[in-house]
Symmetry: C2
Subunit: 215 residues, 2 copies
Amino acid sequence: MSKITDHINQLREDFMKGSLNEVDIHKDPFTQFEIWLQQAIQSEMPEVQAMNLSTISDNKPSSRIVYLRRLNNHKFWFYGNYDSKKGKSLEENPNASLNFFWPELQRQIRIEGTVKKATKVNSDNYFNSRPLESQLGAWASAQSNKLSSRKKLENKLTELKKQFKGKEVPRPEHWGGWVLTANYYEFWQGRKSRLHDRLIYELKDKNWEISRLAP
Amino acid sequence: MSKITDHINQLREDFMKGSLNEVDIHKDPFTQFEIWLQQAIQSEMPEVQAMNLSTISDNKPSSRIVYLRRLNNHKFWFYGNYDSKKGKSLEENPNASLNFFWPELQRQIRIEGTVKKATKVNSDNYFNSRPLESQLGAWASAQSNKLSSRKKLENKLTELKKQFKGKEVPRPEHWGGWVLTANYYEFWQGRKSRLHDRLIYELKDKNWEISRLAP
């Protein structure tokens, strides 16, 4: 067995940081999500807004980190280039899953739902809140397309800086938001000896049904 | 806008920790993976072996954290209950994706490939290396099935402790390994102003072709 396999085999933490009980959780999973997100923010761990987004294309899953930028009533917003691989995948199949993993709290939140494009107003508002360099980046980068060199991207950015100097940078048509509406949540709390707590919420006839899953 | 949305909107780190150049990376992506994994281990961040596994079931993606427990020559092993949701999904569709996200290093590694069950010998070897309580946990828990209460799981474990007292715990038939064989890798290094470095490796006629993607 290789040294690195040997090492990762020995990484085995016994999760003791918390527990999750049916009596403690909120009956609404979005509120429960906000409670855990708030606790994650307070714990000051890095990149609390990072979530794994999984999409399907050509009957294959693909996953990447995106940032949660807005949330409201079972809706979760993220932003990017509509012509990127994830944009095309979501066009083809709107089913998607999110996963927040917060190892410092020994917690995971799995969310499933369907994705639509955000409204233009929503996309404009978020775009306008970004720093100038990120706004120019949205113009400079044909996300997920092959790029012959990094230099080419940097040159494009320099050119755009001149072009937009002293002007407001408008949102490119190909850049904007998506919003996932959740129909399934799992709250996962690591426990001792791999006997983790897993509570799920399923949407049935407009009601959220709570169940415990075996770990 | 809610206070929490307002807060996550302001989380915006300018990634300055590294860069990724065509001339610096190894021509073999598995070796490049080992190099980054080794650096992640050395950085002493938590849960370096945690990876997001995405699978497809019923034309919907789902994702969860699993642990990388063995790796060798483009193969990545993880373990669990074959009757769990991920087990059934992988039976239905062997396409899967992995995502390692290491915020402390501002790095992400995305891997895609196909999954098979590990050999019985491999599953036995790993099962035998686990602590006793985790071995009993594999017998106690019908993973992903609904559970009427946590108490029921704990009682089952107490019963199993008596049953196996002083005996070796054999691997249950329904518990074992899977191995993903990679056909695609992306190495992502966060850079300033969202102009991240993204280098991908695609398997073409048994050769790994390297390209840069626009961020």
